[in-house]
Amino acid sequence: MEHEYDAGAFDVAVVGAGHAGIEAGLASARLGCSTLVFTINLDAVGNCPCNPSIGGTAKGHLVREIDALGGEMGRTTDECFLQSRMLNLGKGPAVHSLRCQIDRRKYSEIMKHKLELQENLFVKQAEIVDLRHAADGVRWELVTRMGAVYTVKAVVLATGTFLGGRIYVGEVSYESGPDGMFPAAFLSKPLQKLGLRLRRFKTGTPARVLRSSIDFTGLEVQKGDDPVVPFSYDTLVPGKNRAVCHVSWTNDQTKAIILKNIGRSPLYSGHIKGIGPRYCPSIEDKIMRFQDKPRHQLFIEPCGLNTEEMYLQGMSSSLPEEVQLQFYHTIKGLEHVQIMRCAYAIEYDCVDPLQMDATLEFREQPGLYGAGQFNGSSGYEEAAAQGIVAGINAALKVQDREPMILDRASSYIGTLVDDLVTKGVTDPYRMMTSRSEYRLVLRQDNADERLTPIGRKIGLIGDERWARFQQKEQQKVDELKRAQKTIFAPSEELNQLLVSHETSPVTTGVRLAELLKRPQLNYQVLAPVDKDRPDYPAAVFENTEIELKYEGYIKRQKADIAEMRRLEGRNLPRSMDYTTVNGLRSEAQEKLNKIQPMNIGQASRISGVSPADVSVLLIWLSKEHS
């Protein structure tokens, strides 16, 4: 820049104030680092440019885990949700997932205010146009469009879809960030100069329509749960449901209009080169790929209490606006719908996450971290999860403390990060329960048990929360003991209860724990006979029941975890040239050189590294160390 000025020094800078940037900034500031958070537009802090909801399958796990570590997403969701549902009840505790519709403006407002109030944190509207090493070769300099130069010890890049953003609606295309904000048009170049391998990904969003133009008669209504289960372990009194969603379906006419106009989709005409997420297909994608499917479902979701904008989940598109209007009008309830904001596709720059370690720090650029869509993921929750990891590690680095690495057995967060930095991504990465091999252990009900001690050790869990956590853990221990000790005599009452739930009666005394192991029984059913039950929170009983019922499976997964952690504990040297290790196959050498795994465990998960290669590494490693 021609006119630059020295704007001062901070410990940590975060580029972007979306879901990743917020968690990164808050974590860093709360750990005592002076933290600067940049946003292109202060009115876009914590914006939800796609669906007005937080959580969902596996994503709900992530929110719980972020909260358990001391993050903000869960608390804020609890403060502004409109409808809360626990998904997958009946499919087993491993896949129970919480999802909330939220008031999107309110969410953004609360988050912005939290940043503003946070000690050690300064949030600034500015576009970063350059990132470079400071003269000392250790620190970083960030330059804003206005020429302000900030010097920092660590940087977290959380640029979302702003970086090199380009919007597509039919034949119309222009450079833009999400929701009509301007894009970060200058930062890609300096990043490439630093050696970051950038690629183009794309995503899309459906139209927002006017509530009064929808005919809700005859549409299926979807209500929230009662009682509401909150996301945050801090929320002691959950709020109430305040809105409903509606369900409708596409039909033959919708399909006909889309097929007729498919040539006008930039995806099919070849204008969009970016790779879109497989799990988030546009409606034209769904119709093209699943031609035999007669209809597709869509959800009509409110965007907030103080707006009449409604979100059409399932109907994202990059077809021209006029075509969108035509096909929306074929759908029951939307016959006369008025589009307030049209659907669009957005293409953006992101990085190859194989260049990062599990701390989310770039191996070749010490002090530089990445999080969120910039790392090739998709989704608010995935972004926030990486944000808290990157923010914590940036702060720990500045403070010269040991980094925080969450392994796959600790959490969905750890699984997400490990997948990104070990397997890489070919399309925007979304969390799914099927991605975790330890999912009977990594449940949403025990996120605190798994992560709160880590959050406490790092310094993100306050005394009050910690005391409450310890009390709950003690109650879990006591209740498990009680269940194993309590014996019910074979009474008429008990046997009637058992038979009425289609499970065999007993002839001798039976322990509460034994009864809870039966799939047909639970605490609620056994309440009439379990008279001396202590007054614990529902979560304690839920946990005890799951631990008993799934004992065998949990035990087996824990054995697998112990095995995995043995290998995880054997660190590999950094910046290693694996072609010098005799006995490795050349494919393995090549992959290991590219990914530079942190330990043997990570190496063993790289595709192309065989068990024999792992043996060679283990022996080579032991030899090096002696």
Partner: protein
């Protein structure tokens, strides 16, 4: 660390064969397959000591065994180790390994015992270097084998089971991960049917492994029956030479006479035994005892009867001894007038062959019967048969995981528990090609289901 097991003696017939088990649970695994004569358990005895007893699996006892106990860290690997020494012969030793795998051990990776020994400080650097080369060479060999296998029919067969299980897992995953996106409900009846079908397919593959072993190593075949029914005549007929002394006196054969022959392409390791009967003659008693042991340990019994005489109590006692071992009733002396109670024989044997050993007829029928009783006629050589222990280990693991999935389903567990078992099965079958389970399943989810917003 998993407890691992493998055959530690060369893959050839020998005097003894050893299965080595190493890991924390080595003694527990051993206790599932081995019972000592003295009643002592491996837990009760110190390291560097042994117990004598029998080894068994779900089908019962199958050999005598010496179990050597090594307690960590004083063992080859530095872990708890049990070495089970049985009689040589690959059939017995592979059956023992299978029993260990069923009891919870995992098939050892190439060089894994040595690797563990090294990591536990049981080996020095120079040794380590050579181990490294050895493992590397084995790795290359395994990769080549896997490549060759991929082109083979076996790969096709494993692949089709893996594909079916992956589809099942993908449906379960889509159903759980996209609850609001109109993914078809998982029908537990249909799920059970699919899993049962996969279970039987995997069992058939293991059966083919057994076939492969038979074709490679020969079938331990015992010619047995009461005295003077013509066992030795049959032996000589089959072997084409005067191996056994034939007289008209009952009890001529006192020791076991052996020979290996090929009957219709199937190698039979024949043993002609002393006639089974109660006798006061101490020499003959010894011979009879050996015959009994042979009969108990045989893979195939040619039970010889004399059609010219009524069945005696000795005949019936012998029939009772046979149990579940594949057996063929060879009704000899068909050239003489028949006095035998053939209905009784028919009720006891699935395969009956009438021969006249003296005249040398009925051999073709005997060949057919051997194929039938060993289930070899069902094995199409082009159907792909399992050929390495590694593959057998993977298929065994997959089969166990499918059984667990079925068990979870039947007991009314939620489907998340069933899902992890199905994924374990897919994981076992993907082991050879090294693909990642979750990626494979997720790819399938997006391939098959229209999910996502």
């Amino acid at each position: 660390m998993h407890t691992i097991a493998a055959i530690s003696t060369p893959q050839a017939s020998g005097g003894i064969g050893i299965v080595r088990i190493s890991g924390d649970d080595a003694r527990t695994v051993a206790s599932h397959v081995f019972t000592s004569v003295s009643g002592k358990t491996l837990e009760q005895i110190p390291g560097y000591t042994s117990l004598f007893g029998t080894v068994h699996d779900a089908d019962g006892n199958f050999d005598q065994c010496v179990a050597a106990n090594y307690r960590a860290p004083k063992s080859y690997t530095g872990e708890n180790v049990v070495e089970l020494s049985c009689h040589g012969g690959l059939y017995v030793i592979q059956r023992l390994l299978n029993a260990c795998l069923s009891a919870g051990a995992v098939m050892a990776q190439p060089g894994e015992f040595t690797r563990r020994a090294f990591l536990n400080g049981k080996m020095d650097l120079t040794q380590a270097e050579s181990v490294m080369e050895m493992i590397s060479a084995q790795g290359k060999g395994a990769a080549a084998a896997a490549r060759a296998g991929q082109e083979g029919l076996l790969y096709g067969r494993i692949h089709s089971v893996q594909k079916e299980l992956t589809d099942t897992a993908a449906h379960l995953a889509a159903w759980a991960d996209f609850p609001e996106e109109n993914v078809p409900e998982v029908d537990s009846g249909k799920l059970e049917k699919t899993l049962k079908c996969m279970q039987s397919e995997l069992e058939q593959m293991l059966q083919s492994f057994h076939t492969e072993t038979i074709l490679k190593n020969g079938v331990d075949t015992v010619i047995a029956g009461r005295p003077n029914v013509g066992k030795s005549t049959l032996m000589n007929l089959l072997s084409g030479s005067e191996k056994s002394i034939v007289t008209s006196y009952a009890g001529t054969t006192r020791d076991v006479v052996e020979d290996t022959i090929s009957l219709g392409g199937i190698p039979l390791k024949l043993a002609d035994t002393a006639g089974l009967h109660d006798t006061q003659d101490p020499v003959e008693q010894l011979g009879v005892l050996r015959s009994r042991r042979r009969v108990e340990g045989a893979q195939l019994i040619l039970a010889v009867f004399d059609s010219s005489e009524a069945l005696s109590q000795e005949d019936k006692n012998f029939v009772d001894m046979i149990g579940d071992t594949p057996a063929i009733a060879v009704v000899n002396k068909s050239d003489l007038p028949s006095k035998i109670n053939i209905e009784y024989i028919k009720s006891q044997f699935k395969q009956i062959v009438y021969i006249s050993a003296l005249q040398g007829n009925g051999l073709q029928k005997l060949k057919d019967a051997v194929q039938q009783v060993l289930h070899l006629q069902q094995i199409d050589p082009a159907a792909g048969i399992l050929f390495t222990q590694r593959q057998q280990g993977d298929v065994t693991r997959a089969g166990n995981a499918v059984s667990e999935a079925l068990e979870a389903l039947k007991s009314g567990m939620t489907l998340d528990a069933v899902t992890v078992c199905v994924e374990d099965a897919v994981s076992a079958l993907l082991e050879l090609t090294g693909e990642s389970v979750s990626e494979t399943i997720i790819d399938q989810v997006f391939e098959q289901f229209c999910v996502g917003k």
